[in-house]
């Protein structure tokens, strides 16, 4: 009976040790992940910033946007200029496409991985058609 008591006493103590260690390991893995995530956020934020700048510049690209009487309309693309597929912005690692709600699409570059999209308007003759511009990486 004494031996049985001893065995019954040792088992929970070991379990507590194991649980303690698991808790410590989880705590330190958590800390490790915080630092790793920090690094990932810092690195990916550069690409995000460049993507937002690229969106802003493309929305005001005179080679693509609608013009009337020497005035350029930011965010309104000219369908004739889009058809020429000539952008005045050096795209580098980025690419983009402009799609309207009718299903027409104008792709500049490969556009394999889509990052962000913004609503835009396309001027087709006298009509204005809603659409979106997608920036790709």
């Amino acid at each position: 009976m004494v031996g049985m008591k001893g065995q019954a006493y040792i088992l929970p103590e070991t379990l507590i040790d194991v649980l303690q260690l698991i808790t410590f390991v989880a705590l330190f893995i958590g800390t490790f992940l915080i630092f790793t995530t920090y690094n990932v956020v810092i690195k990916s934020s550069i690409e995000d910033r460049e993507a937002f700048e690229m969106i802003d510049v493309i929305l005001g690209d005179r080679c693509l946007i609608f013009e009337r009487d020497g005035n350029f309309f930011k965010g309104i693309f000219d369908v004739n200029k889009l058809a020429k597929k000539i952008s005045c912005v050096e795209l580098g690692k980025f690419s983009f496409k402009v799609e309207d709600l009718r299903g027409n699409s104008f792709v500049f570059g490969e556009c394999s991985k889509e990052m962000y999209s913004v609503p835009i308007t396309i001027k087709e003759g006298e009509n204005l058609v809603l659409g979106k511009m997608v920036i790709c990486y």
Partner: protein, 126 residues
Amino acid sequence: MKGTLLTYLLQFFSGVIIVVVILMSSTIVSYHIFQKNWINSKLQAEVLSSIISSLSSSSFDYKLKIYVGNSCNIRVSSSNITCTIGEESYTIKPIIPNYVELVESTSLCNDGFLEIVKIGDRIWLE
């Protein structure tokens, strides 16, 4: 005995993880302490690059005043912006359309203010 062996193994691996976490966190912290000037010059260059990109996408003329204090060693050359703080410098190429010209210029920073001027398709620092 099996329970004890498991405990030792867990102690060993937790020790390894603790060492890795301490090494990694100390590396990151020391990196930020020793590279402070480099990081600040990079941040300054990125902010100015974003501002210039934004200006270049507009057809209006602008004259922007930005407070930079003593961190005023900023230069534009060959379509690049170079910011220097201390002995560390960072160069960045802003995203602008090819019809916009970044005029070679250096910041003067009267009273700690940097001026970015855009007239027509030309942008420069004053």
